[in-house]
Every structure is written in structure tokens, then in C-alpha cells.
């Protein structure tokens, strides 16, 4: 993991162009804050905005506009990405205003919120954009003052020539600098010289959030916009048979009722084209309340689906997906998972001779972990504004993956890509759910058919019962110990409905001589999708609980046990070993051990659990301390240690880890979407238990490993190990292991025994 200090090849987005007419946007007279005057600098007073590249505009009145290219869903990229640009530009953060960039792949790459990769994948491009504009400003200034380029320095948005004691602001030089040919191979800053990145900066949207400005998709309006809602089957496994809208059409405000086909027959789905119900009844009307009420008068008959096969393209391959007929239930899923897990599975990785090792073991420990479907439950329900005509389409929507959405919309509408315009609104949460843009296709078809600008709104019930859930998983872990209680073999066999979670090359692969990972899947008509740290959010819960139990059986301290395994993976790795970095993994364990006072006598009485995990390129470890009160756990302290490389915005990153910890405790304790005869049994927050204020830990103490590694991502990695740290702490508090999520249901069952 080296840092890049050279720039990437010249890109079209770095082409400098000047744009006129924007300099007045803030109405701030440039003289009011400037330290030099036009007379002193010899510049003309031209209030223009100059575009240096897709990321940077500078006005002649010294306002630095930085475009934030990625969708914002609370991960704070709207602040952190511009910080990276501003750092290399050497701008004064006080003079920076941030704008949401348009979705435009000619200007930006990977405008995607997901995989914890917004910072990781834009890091170099954003630094280059900032450094390139700074270089252009320096070159223009050197020419203007007729001094050598090397003698022109910058600090906080001002250019200096120390020998002649001259200075000029970026704004004053913007017109000239924007004319400079775009330099190649600009030098990036030394990391030690950072003064914006690595410092805490407030959320640029903070004031708009606390004053209730219309930032979100649901807040977007256009003149004469109509409201649309969709009626879909009440259960997975059903489809539309017929409907009667007579009563609905008599209701006040109602304009139209019709059906839409989300995708045509034999449509080949792209990666984020998951949709649960293909045919929907649409009610369009004037206001939300009118449409909500009228919808209740719809008379719809549903019929069972027949088993079908759909071609699905993923990032790397294509496959046929079976969607079985039937009305599925959670109880039945669990029975089927037990049956299926006893049968042979697909081998995903094998090192050494695990079969013989288990045969010769002095002791075998075997445990099975199970978890339910989870609903994303973003606070802002699914919605999308669409205005579609015969020749073009405009969307304003909260969405995570515009690039994929645009392609799907263009295909479905039969329009060229350049006729699709997508405005990315702020998202009221995403957690993976808003990568699946079926709701945009629905909105497009509704606008097309209604011949009007429309806003599609899902009610909370629609949002929670539609599907695209975190799958339901189970995994059986086995460990073989020799007579001296050494770990000689490790076996994980995991499956799920409808996908398995196993990441075969992850820790403790490469740390055990004999290792076997297997997976199996049960087809289902319950639709699934990415949910904060997909698969990892289950794997960490299971594996890290198992390692805790294993360490106890071996008579080892759980942190020391993991460190020994990691040392083995480092010194003498078994088999393929390119997945995790044992040093960084050990680093977070050592840091959390130190910060939590692990093993110290004063903490001996605490019910504390530890867990760590690597996913999405970063490392996280947590120690949780809890007490039991009236049969419920009260989490007192959480200590978190994270290695995500360079931290861009320390306070925001801390906020994100605090949130991930509480989110993890909430989902582990309470999260569950259960089904009966295809019907989701929870459809709103009065039935689906979310963690609330009084259930949050009293304190979360967040620490980052200090290193100069390029950023590796933060949104997801802290989340998965929380589940296991909690399970391990619960064991200390109750003397019982927790194998089945949600843990609150498990606690209740035990209290009933």
C-alpha cells in the first residue's frame, strides 16, 4: 500500500475552460474580504466564474466553488470530497462553497455511493484536480509578475512572491489561470503538509439540515407535479390478476389509474435491476393524502406466480436466476436451511487435508449461527420525481448508483443515454437499498403514461414490505483441536435464502493448516440486495462469535488468540493469501486492547466482548462493555479501533463509526423482517423494532490507527464486527452464547424457559 505522489494521465475533465456570468452568485463584493486591490495587482475587475475542471470553479471575487461528485447519503462525502480538492488546491476552506455535481460521466468517474469507496476511488483524481488548478494559478502568476515559477508559493488561497513581497488572491488570478494549458504530471502535496485533510471540518450542509431546507428527494417539486403511488401484491409469490378502479376514480383529486410493466418479457437484468413485482397498479392524483386515501378503494385480485427463470448480469458474469413459485415463510426457511446445510455444498476454498485433520482431532467444536432478513428502513422512503416526454427524460431522485440507473432507464424508455438527465438529491439514508433503481423505472413509466411530471412516493409500508432485503443466512463453523488444544483445522459451511454469505479467502483462511469453506443456496422469490457491508454483516457476527468460543475452549485470551492466528498468516501463510493484511488486522486489535484497558484488573469484573473484522478494504475492532438491567442489556461503553488509512475528516469519521456501532447493536438486538405465507410480518416502525435513544450505548470511544496509507473506506467496515462484540459481551453477562439473531428474541425465549 503505497501512496501515490504522481498524477494520473491527463484526462478530458482537466481541460480548462472559462465560463462567464457566474461571479455574482453570492453577491459578495470581492473587495470586502480581499487583502490586495485590483490597483495593486493590476488586474481588471471582472466578476466572472472560471472553470478549472469538473471539480473547481473560482470566481473573480475569490469564492472557490468545489463540486462534490458522489451521491450523499449521510457518509458526508459532500464535505470530505471537496476537502481533498481544497487541500491540493491550497484553498482557504472559509472561502469554499460546495455544490452537488451533476451526474456526468464525461466529467467524473464512479459517481456511486456504495462499497465504502467514494473516497478510496476518487482520492487520486480529486487530489490531481486540486493540484492541477493550483499549478495553473502559480504559472499564471509567475507570468504576470515575470518571476520564476518555483518562486511562486501558495497559502490558504493566496499566491505569494516573497522576494518582491507581492501577493494576490486566487480569485484575482482566476481569469488568467484558467487560460493556462492544463499541466501534466503535477506534483501532489506531501502528506505531512496536509492542513485541511485530517482536520475536523463541519458538514457543509449543516445549516441547511437544521433549518429544514428542501434537500431530499421527497422535497423535490415541480410546477403541476402529480403524486403517484403503486399498489403491488400483498405477498411475495403473487402477481396481478385484475383490478377495478371505479371507486378510486370517484375520489377527490384522482387523475388516473393504470398499470405498468416494470420490465418487458425476457428482459436481461443488469446488476442493480432487481425488482420484486413486475406489474403494478398505479394511482395518480393531485396530493399525497388524496392518493393515499383513494388507493384504499382499489379492488385488486392477485394470483400466484409460476416459477420463472431470469437472466441476470453481474459485475463479472451472467447467470440464470430461478424465481420459484410459492408463498414462503420464515419458519419454513429455517427448516429448509437446516435440511439443506446437512447436504453437500459447493467447495469455495480448501487448504491442506481438512477431512483427515477432523478425523484425527482430539476435540471438535461445532456451532451454527442464523440470522433473519433485514429491511433497510431508510428514514426517507423510496421516491422519485420523473418527467418523461417522447424525446427526453428528467429525474430528481435519491439514488446511490446513477450510472447503472441511467443505462437501465435508457434501455427501458428507448432513449439515448444523453437524453436521460438525473439530478442526484441528498438521500435520507441508503444503506444499499437505493442502488436498486426499480423505483426510477416505475416513475419513468408513470410519467410517460400520465403525460405529466410526477413524484412517485412509497409509503413506509410500501418501503418496508417491497423486499430487496438483507438475505437470511446460516453458517456452521467447525474447529478441530489436537490433544494439546492447538487449532489444526477450520471448516465453515454457510448458506442462505437465496444466497450464501461466505467469503472464503477472508481471515482465518491462510492462518490454519487445514481449511475448508463451502456454500449453498436455497432459491426464493424474496428479493434481496446489498445492505451495509453485504454478507460481511453476517459473517463477522458468526465467525467472530465462534472465534470467541474457540479461544475459551483453548484456554486463550480472545485477542491474543486472534493475534497468534494473524502472526501465522503473516509469517507462513497457508494457500492463497491476498485478501487481508495481517499487520493492519492485528493493528486494530492491539489498538482496541490498549484503549479499552483489556485484561487490566480494574476491568476484570466487566461483561465485555471483543470482535474484529476486515471488509471493504478497511479494518475494525470493537470492545463492548454491558450490564444487564431488567433482563435487557445496557451497553455502557464501546471502544472502537479503525484502520481506514488516512482519515479525511476526523470528526465526521468519528460520527460515522459511532453510528455504525449503534446501528450494529440495533440490528443485532432487534432487526428482523419475518414472513408468513409470503406476507412481511412487519410493515412499519410500530412493528419493526429499530434501536432508539434509550437503547444506544452510553459512550462510544473511537480511535483511528495513525498511518499514511491512502484512504481505504469507512462506511461499512465498522458495522459487521459490532454484532459479535455484542454477542460475546452478552455471553459474559448471561453465561449463554447467542447463536440466533435478533438477540432480543433469544433473550425473551430464555427468560420464558
Amino acid at each position: 500500500m503505497k501512496n501515490d505522489t504522481t498524477t494520473q494521465s491527463r484526462r478530458t475533465f482537466l481541460k480548462a475552460t472559462a465560463l462567464t456570468g457566474g461571479g455574482m452568485i453570492l453577491g459578495i463584493h470581492w473587495l470586502s474580504g480581499a487583502t490586495t486591490t485590483p490597483a495593486a495587482s493590476g488586474l481588471d475587475l471582472v466578476k466572472d466564474t472560471y472553470v478549472f475542471n469538473g471539480h473547481i470553479k473560482i470566481t473573480s471575487d475569490n469564492i472557490i466553488q468545489i463540486m462534490s461528485q458522489n451521491p450523499e447519503f449521510g457518509q458526508n462525502v459532500k464535505t470530505s470530497l471537496p476537502m481533498i480538492v481544497a487541500e491540493e488546491l491550497d484553498a482557504d476552506w472559509k472561502n469554499v462553497i460546495v455544490e452537488q455535481a451533476p451526474f456526468d460521466l464525461k466529467l467524473y468517474t464512479r459517481q456511486f455511493a456504495g462499497g465504502s469507496q467514494s473516497v478510496k476511488t476518487t482520492w487520486k483524481a480529486l487530489r490531481t484536480a486540486g493540484a492541477t488548478a493550483r499549478q495553473m494559478l502559480r504559472e499564471a502568476t509567475a507570468q504576470f509578475w515575470n518571476v520564476p515559477l518555483e518562486e511562486v508559493t501558495t497559502k490558504a488561497g493566496v499566491l505569494y512572491h516573497s522576494k518582491s513581497e507581492k501577493s494576490v488572491t486566487y480569485g484575482e488570478m482566476a481569469a488568467k489561470a484558467a487560460e493556462i494549458p492544463v499541466p501534466k504530471d503535477v506534483k501532489l502535496k506531501e502528506i505531512k503538509d496536509f492542513n485541511i485533510v485530517r482536520s475536523p471540518r463541519k458538514n457543509v450542509e449543516g445549516i441547511n439540515i437544521v433549518t429544514g431546507k428542501p434537500l431530499f428527494g421527497l422535497d423535490y417539486r415541480q410546477k403541476d407535479m402529480l403524486i403517484a403511488m403503486v399498489e403491488r401484491p400483498p405477498a411475495f409469490g403473487l402477481k396481478l390478476k385484475s383490478y377495478d378502479a371505479k371507486a378510486v376514480l370517484k375520489m377527490p383529486g384522482i387523475k388516473k389509474v393504470f398499470t405498468i410493466q416494470v420490465f418487458p418479457e425476457k428482459y436481461e437484468r443488469q446488476i442493480f435491476d432487481t425488482r420484486t413485482f413486475n406489474e403494478l397498479v398505479v394511482v395518480v392524483g393531485k396530493t399525497t393524502w388524496e392518493v393515499m386515501n383513494a388507493r384504499k378503494k382499489l379492488k385488486v385480485e392477485w394470483q400466484p406466480i409460476t416459477t420463472s427463470i431470469e437472466c441476470v448480469h453481474t459485475f463479472s458474469s451472467e447467470r440464470d436466476e430461478t424465481i420459484p413459485a410459492g408463498l414462503e415463510s420464515t419458519d419454513n426457511h429455517y427448516l429448509k436451511m437446516v435440511e439443506r446445510s446437512a447436504q453437500p455444498a459447493t467447495e469455495l476454498r480448501k487448504d491442506g487435508d481438512p477431512e483427515t485433520a477432523f478425523k484425527n482431532a482430539a476435540q471438535i467444536i461445532e456451532r451454527t449461527y442464523t440470522a433473519p432478513f433485514l429491511a433497510h428502513n431508510m428514514m426517507e422512503p423510496i421516491n422519485c420525481f420523473a418527467l418523461v416526454t417522447d424525446t427526453e427524460a428528467f429525474f430528481a431522485a435519491p439514488l446511490q448508483a446513477p450510472e447503472y440507473a441511467e443505462k437501465t432507464l435508457a434501455t427501458r424508455l428507448g432513449l439515448p443515454l444523453e437524453k436521460i438527465e438525473i439530478q442526484m438529491t441528498r438521500m435520507g439514508g441508503g444503506f444499499g437499498r437505493r442502488a436498486y433503481a426499480h423505483y426510477m423505472v416505475e416513475a419513468a413509466l408513470i410519467s410517460q403514461q400520465a403525460k405529466a411530471p410526477i413524484k412517485l412516493i412509497y409509503t413506509r409500508e410500501d418501503d418496508m414490505t417491497y423486499g430487496i432485503y438483507r438475505p437470511s443466512y446460516t453458517a456452521t463453523y467447525r474447529a478441530a483441536l489436537d490433544a494439546d488444544k492447538n487449532l489444526i483445522a477450520f471448516h465453515v459451511k454457510g448458506g442462505g435464502v437465496p444466497e450464501h454469505p461466505i467469503a472464503a479467502d477472508r481471515f482465518p483462511a491462510s492462518a490454519v493448516d487445514h481449511y475448508l469453506a463451502e456454500g449453498w443456496e436455497i432459491p426464493s422469490n424474496i428479493t434481496i440486495g446489498a445492505f451495509r457491508a453485504p454478507r460481511s454483516n453476517f459473517n463477522a457476527a458468526a465467525e467472530q462469535s465462534f472465534l470467541d468460543e474457540l479461544a475459551a475452549a483453548m484456554g486463550k485470551d480472545p485477542i491474543e488468540f486472534r493475534l497468534q492466528l494473524l502472526q501465522r498468516a503473516k509469517d507462513n501463510p497457508v494457500g492463497k493469501h491476498d485478501n487481508y493484511d495481517p499487520d493492519r488486522y492485528a493493528g486494530v486489535l492491539k489498538l482496541v486492547r490498549e484503549k479499552s484497558g483489556w485484561g487490566k484488573p480494574e476491568n476484570a469484573q466487566k461483561s465485555r466482548g471483543v470482535a474484529a473484522y476486515f471488509c471493504h478494504n478497511s479494518y475494525a475492532a470493537h470492545v463492548i462493555d454491558l450490564t444487564m438491567k431488567d433482563g435487557e442489556p445496557v451497553v455502557e461503553n464501546v471502544y472502537s479501533a479503525i484502520d481506514c488509512g488516512i482519515v479525511i475528516n476526523l470528526d465526521a469519521a468519528t460520527n460515522m463509526v459511532e453510528g455504525a456501532v449503534i446501528d450494529g447493536i440495533g440490528n443485532a438486538m432487534y432487526g428482523a423482517l419475518t414472513l408468513k405465507d409470503g406476507i412481511p410480518q412487519q410493515n412499519n416502525f410500530n412493528q419493526y423494532r429499530m434501536i432508539r435513544h434509550h437503547e444506544a450505548p452510553k459512550k462510544v470511544d473511537v480511535h483511528f490507527v495513525q498511518n499514511d496509507i491512502d484512504p481505504t473506506g469507512l462506511g461499512e467496515p465498522p458495522f459487521p464486527p459490532v454484532f459479535a462484540a455484542l454477542a460475546n459481551a452478552l455471553y459474559k453477562a448471561t453465561g449463554k452464547r447467542f447463536y440466533t439473531q435478533p438477540f432480543s428474541a433469544e433473550l425473551e425465549r430464555r427468560q420464558g424457559d
Binding site: F73, N203, L218, R221, V661, D663
Partner: protein, 151 residues
């Protein structure tokens, strides 16, 4: 449909609307006050919290016909420029992640402090437990309320 005169953020608004319409949708759809958020529609999340005569209510459960001449305050009317001590405390602690629930959290917190100017941690947890934050910024919300309390 029925005609109503509503006192919202210090101004009187006349409108003709279905009397069963919850204030949430009156604010959002009829008056273009988008700061009050829809989260659940069943008073289980707190995103739609506004003040009725100065105290927190869930606007999704408040039919417009029941308001009569009572004063409604929304997040837009809490202060002129975001300078209410609770809003300022929210900025100081940089509470928000996605931010969607925060208007409701702030309106609930302002109401709490009016009733209990010096709340304990338990008071805050209890009073705020009806407001869900899916990003789980609960610790910062609590810290911000404690900062705002003496002001």
C-alpha cells in the same frame, strides 16, 4: 373539502382542503414547507414533529380540522436564521449524518427543554425515544441537547 385559517410560523394561511388531511401533508403539499418530514405516518418515528402551541406533536396524526386557532411552529419557523440555541448546538456537535430525521429531533428537543430546562441523561433518552435516527446519531443528539440546555 373545507376552508381553514391556520396560524403557522406566525403567519395566517387560508386554505381549502380535505378536513381529514394530516398537518404533515398540509405543510408539505399545500404550503410547500418541506422541512417537516414524512417517516412512517403512524406516529412511530418522530420525523414529522412540529410544535402545537409550543410543544411537540406528531403532525402525521394531527388532522387539519383539529388545529383551529392553535399556533403551529415548524422547523422553518423555529428561528429566522438557524440561530435557535438547539439548532446552534446541533451545528456545534455536527450531529447530522443523512439529516432526514434531524428537523423532527430538533423540534422534539426544543419542546423537551421547554418542559424540562435541565434534563438528565435519562430524561433526554426517555423524551427522545420516539424519534428514530436510522444513522444512529443518538449520542450527538444527546450531547447537543445538553449543550443547548443552559441557553
Amino acid at each position: 373539502m373545507a376552508k381553514f385559517n391556520l396560524k403557522i410560523n406566525g403567519e395566517t394561511h387560508r386554505l381549502d382542503v380535505d378536513p381529514t388531511t394530516p398537518m404533515l401533508w398540509v405543510l408539505r403539499d399545500h404550503l410547500n414547507l418541506q422541512g417537516t418530514k414524512y417517516g412512517c405516518g403512524v406516529a412511530a418515528c418522530g420525523a414529522c414533529t412540529v410544535h402545537l402551541n409550543g410543544y411537540a406533536v406528531r403532525s402525521c396524526q394531527l388532522p387539519v380540522s383539529t388545529v383551529k386557532d392553535q399556533e403551529i411552529t415548524t422547523i422553518e419557523g423555529l428561528s429566522a436564521n438557524g440561530d435557535h440555541p438547539v439548532q446552534q448546538a446541533w451545528l456545534e456537535h455536527d450531529v447530522a449524518q443523512c439529516g432526514y430525521c434531524q428537523a423532527g429531533q430538533i423540534m422534539n428537543a426544543v419542546s423537551l427543554l421547554k418542559l424540562n430546562p435541565n434534563p438528565t441523561d435519562e430524561d433526554i433518552e426517555s423524551a427522545m425515544s420516539g424519534n428514530i435516527c436510522r444513522c444512529a446519531t443518538y449520542l450527538r443528539i444527546k450531547a447537543a441537547i445538553k449543550t443547548a440546555a443552559p441557553k
